[in-house]
């Protein structure tokens, strides 16, 4: 009963902050609301007993993403500019409503939350739960799955983070400076 009330409160706050983000024009306030949205999602994961996911969402979504977006804001303007002309909202609205209806229809077939007989609980999850302690000696099955049973996936994730760092360095890091020098030289010649 208490779970339902907490979930209801958290989900309605999520909806409110999402609507506020869409309607706002001040980018700084939008970034702050993004942080609040991430923190609320982390709380929802927490209520669902997914502590590892909640931890990651709170640290990455609410923490680092907010700081990085504010750092991006330093490179752009704080206020969202009005686009000239404007666009007709009806086609995107229809697409969104149809997609949402299809998604809601799809949820009707999803097994109940925490159902032990759900297909996703029947596949490899029992193997992990039974074998984690005798094979790895690690009580937190999330860690043993992440680092050992699915070690290749995690290696891929680390490469993704690494590649993202390299991409940022190439796009706006030290590599951009020589070209800037070239343009200033061109200006001098002209």
């Amino acid at each position: 009963m208490i779970d339902i009330i907490i979930n209801l409160a958290l989900l309605s706050f999520l909806a409110i902050s999402a609507i506020a983000i869409v309607r706002m024009k001040n980018l700084f306030a939008i970034i702050m609301l993004f942080g609040i949205f991430s923190f609320l999602s982390a709380s929802v994961f927490m209520v669902m007993d997914a502590v590892d996911v909640a931890f990651t969402e709170a640290a990455v979504g609410a923490g680092i993403s907010t700081v990085l977006m504010i750092a991006t804001l330093a490179l752009t303007k704080v206020q969202d500019e009005k686009r000239p002309g404007g666009h007709k909202p009806w086609l995107p609205l229809t697409v969104v409503i149809v997609t949402a209806a299809a998604l809601v229809y799809g949820t009707l077939d999803i097994p109940a939350f925490g159902d032990a007989n759900a297909p996703s609980q029947k596949h490899v999850a029992p193997q992990y739960l039974q074998r984690s302690i005798p094979e790895t000696g690690i009580p937190n099955v999330v860690t043993s799955v992440l680092a050992s049973y699915r070690g290749f996936d995690t290696l891929g994730e680390v490469f993704v983070v690494f590649t993202a760092g390299i991409a940022v360095l190439i796009l706006i890091g030290g590599v951009a400076q020589p070209s800037k020098r070239k343009t200033s030289r061109k200006k001098k010649n002209a």
């Binding site: 502590v51 590892d52 909640a54 931890f55 990651t56 640290a59 990455v60 923490g63 680092i64 700081v67 990085l68 750092a71 991006t72 330093a74 490179l75 094979e135 790895t136 000696g137 690690i138 009580p139 937190n140 999330v142 860690t143 043993s144 992440l146 680092a147 050992s148 070690g151 290749f152 995690t154 290696l155 994730e157 680390v158 490469f159 983070v161 690494f162 993202a164 760092g165 940022v168 360095l169 706006i172 890091g173």
Partner: protein, 138 residues
């Protein structure tokens, strides 16, 4: 001269943040956490320092060239553990061959791999922040 209260509070906060990051890093086997979360929290301490004391002070603590080295080092540790297991006669990332018993080998392997994840996530997050902040200053 930045705000005195901000400076004092951040100086009090930064050591516990770093300790907590190390706890999350090395206690990930038993509680929630692991390399990804620990790396992010560890970089949050440095970002707080940079926000309060300025980018130059933070770059004096840890320079971008060191961060570039660390970002590749983390990936190298992870992939290197896989190579080491191949040389010890196992499959790629088969930690069991790292020590005499299976449980000890798995434990060592997971610890090293999580360390690699933590180092890479920490340095890439900080590197991205430094790059953006330096661009904004210029």
């Amino acid at each position: 001269m930045p705000n005195l209260i901000l400076r004092v509070v951040s100086k009090i906060l930064i050591p516990p943040i770093i300790i907590f990051a190390l706890y999350v890093q090395f206690h990930g086997d038993f509680g929630p956490g692991g390399g990804f979360q620990a790396g992010v929290i560890f970089s949050a301490a440095f970002i707080l320092y940079a926000l309060v004391f300025g980018l130059d002070a933070a770059e004096n603590v840890i320079s971008t060239s060191v961060l570039r080295f660390l970002a590749s080092l983390g990936v190298l540790i992870y992939a290197g553990v896989g190579i080491a297991t191949v040389f010890l006669g196992g499959n790629y990332l088969e930690y069991t061959v790292l020590a005499s018993t299976q449980v000890a080998g798995q434990h060592l392997g997971i610890l090293l791999v999580e360390l690699g994840v933590g180092i890479t996530v920490f340095s890439v997050m900080l590197l991205i922040f430094f790059t953006f902040a330096a661009k904004g200053r210029a």
